[in-house]
């Protein structure tokens, strides 16, 4: 079994467990909805102002939900010493990491797919225009959130106050990604296309994903096998 096959097997295992118990996906989806409702009380905005902050709102919701999902990634394997068993298996550490990141990616995409229409409905944002381009931004930024999140979930798995420590580490690292994603999403909602200034934000997302995927895949061996 090659490393990628092992990664896919682990991703399938995680997704199956999650879709049967639905423990983190239910929590993350309801949390996203609660935040969306809270934001509507926090800001009393006109239509233009709302469009100006729409991308920021959406990505705050997504990154909050993302932290909830990646938190479970490695924590799920702690009871019954499952993590030790996985590490003792012939699958290399990086394929364990990639599998976890892929399953978190799919779960976060599901949560995002649920909350995007609700967001459009609550805030009267026309998100369907430019949808293919929006999808590119969402795919890139979601992968960034899950790959960094899964790496930090491995770092914090044996840490006291894990649930508190993960966001403290994760959000500062995600700042460049979120700046890029928020800017492009706002522009796309306003009917712009992914050209000019928005293309440079897109390049930032691609660069972030490439750098952190490489760094995490390379360093995960040191994180998991101490």
């Amino acid at each position: 079994m090659s490393g990628l096959q092992a990664a896919w097997a682990i991703a399938r295992k995680d997704l199956r467990t999650e879709l049967r118990t639905k423990e983190s996906i239910n929590a993350a989806a309801s949390f996203a909805l609660v935040i969306l409702v809270l934001f509507s009380f926090a800001f009393d905005l006109g239509r233009e102002e709302l469009y100006a902050i729409s991308g920021g709102l959406l990505w705050l919701v997504y990154s909050f939900a993302g932290a909830l999902i990646v938190n479970r990634g490695f924590a799920r394997e702690v009871p019954n010493d499952c993590l030790d068993v996985l590490l003792a298996s012939p699958a290399p550490a990086w394929s364990l990491f990639v599998g976890k990141a892929v399953s978190a990616f799919f779960l976060l995409m599901i949560v995002e797919a649920i909350s995007l229409p609700v967001f459009g409905l609550f805030y009267n944002i026309r998100w369907m225009q430019n949808f293919p381009q929006l999808l590119v931004v969402i795919l890139l930024a979601t992968w960034g959130i899950t790959v960094v999140g899964t790496a930090f979930s491995a770092v914090t798995v044996n840490v006291r106050l894990r649930e508190l420590m993960l966001p403290v580490l994760l959000y500062p690292v995600l700042i460049p990604l979120l700046i890029g994603a928020m800017g492009t999403t706002t522009a796309l909602f306003a009917g712009e296309s992914l050209a000019g200034d928005n293309a440079s934000s897109l390049r930032l997302l691609v660069g972030f994903d490439a750098i952190y995927t490489a760094l995490a895949v390379y360093l995960i061996e040191y994180v998991l096998i101490v």
Partner: protein, 226 residues
């Protein structure tokens, strides 16, 4: 011997710093546009430069720890990050005071300031995660990983905040463009040296504490093992 070297370094730092302050406050004239407050530049910029120096050392020693698993590198990393974070905070505070005086506001979301603040937050994550892990090898490994991730993020943050919707307010670089009056250059260079000497002395003190702490911990474990 090492203690003596530390004290000697600290003494040297104090002499250089006080001598330089004497020059800055009594010999140099007020700046034409800003008046007396421009003197902050002699500590504000050296703090930023030295923070970058110590964060770079921390990156190198973090990588060396992962490669060799020698705890001395971990001690150097934590000492450098602590001193670097302190210098960054000092840089932010002095800059803020200058901004209040010159701009009338304490803070602007300017690219340099935002970048520096993110840098501070990233390394605070490093300092927060350390006490949360009790097992020494694990603590050193995980925090080294966090130090590497933090350093990798800085160029990306700088790129992200250069995106078009971010304003610039911070004064431009005066060093490369030769905009600094010749009389100011000497005290400025000595300011960098003085800040470096103080920081190096602090790093040595922290390093000494770290090694002592490690010895105490291993003695305690030995006693418990009996």
């Amino acid at each position: 011997m090492r203690e003596k070297a530390t004290y000697l370094l600290a003494l040297l730092a104090a002499v250089v710093m006080i001598g330089n302050l004497h020059t800055i406050f009594t010999q140099l004239p007020d700046e034409a546009m800003q008046g007396a407050v421009y003197r902050i530049i002699f500590v504000h910029v050296p703090a930023a430069i030295n923070a970058d120096i110590f964060f770079t050392i921390a990156l190198v020693t973090a990588i060396l720890f992962l490669a060799t698993k020698k705890f001395i590198y971990d001690s150097v990393t934590v000492a450098c990050v602590e001193v670097g974070a302190m210098l960054t905070l000092f840089n932010l505070v002095t800059g803020s005071i200058w901004g209040r005086n010159q701009w009338g506001i304490w803070w602007a979301w300017d690219l340099r300031m935002t970048g520096q603040l993110m840098c501070f937050l990233l390394y605070m994550g490093y300092l927060l995660v350390r006490p949360a892990i009790s097992e020494p090898t694990q603590r050193a490994t995980m925090s080294s990983i966090v130090a590497i991730f933090a350093y990798a993020d800085i160029p990306l943050v700088l790129m992200a905040i250069r995106l078009p919707n971010v304003r610039t307010q911070h004064p431009g670089p005066v060093l490369e463009t030769g905009g600094m009056a010749p009389a100011f250059r000497g005290p400025f260079a000595i300011g960098i040296l003085a800040m470096f000497l103080i920081s190096a002395a602090l790093v040595l003190v922290r390093l000494h504490q770290e090694t002592a702490q490690r010895e105490i911990d291993s003695l305690r474990r030995e006693v418990h093992a009996r």
